[in-house]
């Protein structure tokens, strides 16, 4: 089993520096008006504050997990520190993307977030799949859960 690469672990720190800078100015107000603070909440409605998340929200309502997992259960790392680091990094991306409207549409999950997602599948289902996963979950060799379970999070339309 391969450990996490240093590269992947450093990036959130870098990203964190930027929202801190922004927060020093008007940026803080912007962030909160846009319900940027909803990242700190576990309520899926909070994500859906942003219309750009409508598709995913609607999909989640139809997905098999809406009774058992909220957005953060799948998309945010579980540990306390990791959780807020990731929220800061993603919160920055989201506010920037939303404001500048310069992101790729449709939104496509980035590699780092896909890995967080996979870790969360395993957090809940590790026991079930431990034999088939047999260690490799992080490398290019990972058994990617979403390769088959394309629709668990967001229903068949995704």
């Amino acid at each position: 089993m391969r450990g996490p690469s240093p590269n992947r672990s450093i990036r959130p720190w870098l990203a964190l520096a930027i929202p801190i800078g922004l927060a020093a100015g008007l940026g803080l107000y912007t962030f909160s008006y846009a319900e940027g603070l909803s990242y700190l909440s576990n309520d899926p409605g909070a994500c859906n504050n942003c219309h750009i998340m409508n598709d995913q929200y609607n999909g989640w309502l139809k997905g098999s997990h809406h009774a058992v997992a909220t957005c953060n259960d799948c998309h945010v790392p579980a540990g306390f520190v990791e959780k807020y680091l990731s929220k800061a990094a993603n919160g920055y991306h989201h506010s920037k993307g939303f404001t500048l409207q310069d992101f790729h549409e449709p939104i496509m999950i980035k590699a780092n977030n896909a890995k967080i997602l996979q870790d969360n599948c395993l957090r809940c289902h590790g026991d079930l799949v431990h034999e088939v996963v047999a260690g490799a979950t992080t490398a290019a060799d990972a058994v990617k859960c979403v390769h088959c379970h394309r629709s668990v999070g967001h229903g068949p339309t995704r």
């Binding site: 079930l128 034999e131 060799d141």
Partner: protein, 499 residues
Amino acid sequence: AYMLVNIFTRKQEARNPYLKLVNVDETTTDPRVWGTNWPRQFDGYSRTVDQTHTRYGGSEGAIPESRIERDPWLKRMFLGYAFSLDFRDRRGHAFMLYDQEQTLRVTERAQTGACLHCHSAATTTWRRIGLESEGKTLADAHGFDWPAVMTGFKALSAMSYVDAHAELMKTPDGSTESFRDSIVPADKPATTQQALAAHVGEAHPVSCVDCHDPQNMELRVTRPGFVTGIAKLAASNEPTPHLPSIERWRKGNRSKAYDPNVDATRQEMRSFSCAQCHVEYYCGPKATLFFPWDNGLKVEQIEKLYEEMKFPDGKPFLDFVHTETGAPIFKAQHPEFELWSQGVHARAGVSCADCHMPYTREGAMKVSDHWVRSPLLNINRSCQPCHQVAEEELAARVQTIQDRNHALMSRAGHAVDGMISAIVAAKAAGANDEQLKHARELQRRAQWRLDFVNAENSMGFHAPQEAARILGESIDYARQGELAATRWKNPPPATQPGR
């Protein structure tokens, strides 16, 4: 910076995924021994003797239906070759050795030891023969010992089938005497018992050791034909969007040949373990068994290789000469891997195992279903995780594809039949070899393509448009062949075997 540690990593480190009750190593070819450690997978494996049925696929308990009796044009195409004696529907893995032993192609015609490459757990025998040729024994092996395996493979391929089979039987299968007595669990149905009993203590059909590394159970490939063939494909210029590790290897320095056991991703290995056998091959007496992938995996790329190839004796490559027409023919065998490679599933990274060995829940555990079989028997596991569509709808989509393919294939069959009749008539009317040359060449092309789609076992599903394209070309060449034979006395001036 190391705070974002994968929680799963920690969990896994503390846990041993498998509980090993008995030891297995490179010489353990008896799947029942492995079954002690991995009863779920063994259970699936041993169900490959069961009877199943789908419209175009499935598996018989008794000797399967004859394909050449079902389609008379097929038998006619093979006149002059052992396949015209006996060619049947495939069935489950547990039958592979038995079915080869009893086919008329083996009992009525001399075959080579290379046949065993894909019908038996032959690695230990290759290793043993390889080592013995250097005056050593199995005890001297270094692990899997590729050099010894390669030497032994070549030696066994050069033997007759009968001699090679005898060597196979001589190799111990890793089971102990006492273990052997306890076998054949009474709770298995009769056919399973027979299949398992058939080779107690000796040769076996494809077994765990052929696909798994006994040390860590990782997937691996063990077949010389595949390892050599895929390295040639990697060395070619043919794009392989469905095999990213090859594209990655090509960007490197190429100092070492592409090695699937080193370079391939796990997802690719889930197809490569099947591509060890489910491929077009040559395994006749005149050259060592090989997979013809030097130019690429498409039907015309393989044809080009054969057309340009010479046997060691300097004669042009061919599989047989057609009895009725005298045409030199190339024979296609089960190109599942090649056709899959042209389909959208392959491009989307969907592997053979995804469909043919889907995960199945056994109690608190998910395991790969080792009952390798038609996915249509198992649509909910094989297709529905990816396609959230009703089972009947998925079955209907497959059937639409297969019925179209079947109809076009029969059309091509009739065209080939018409062509053969026309060449026979021309011969009877006195046409000489020179006058028949063009028609015979067209016959070779037409048959090669029709055979490619017919021999492929998914009835077109693995790459529907590609299969139809190949059949379209087959029809064109067959009817052109009929025309050439019909006009043998006055060929139109410009007639060139057009592509």
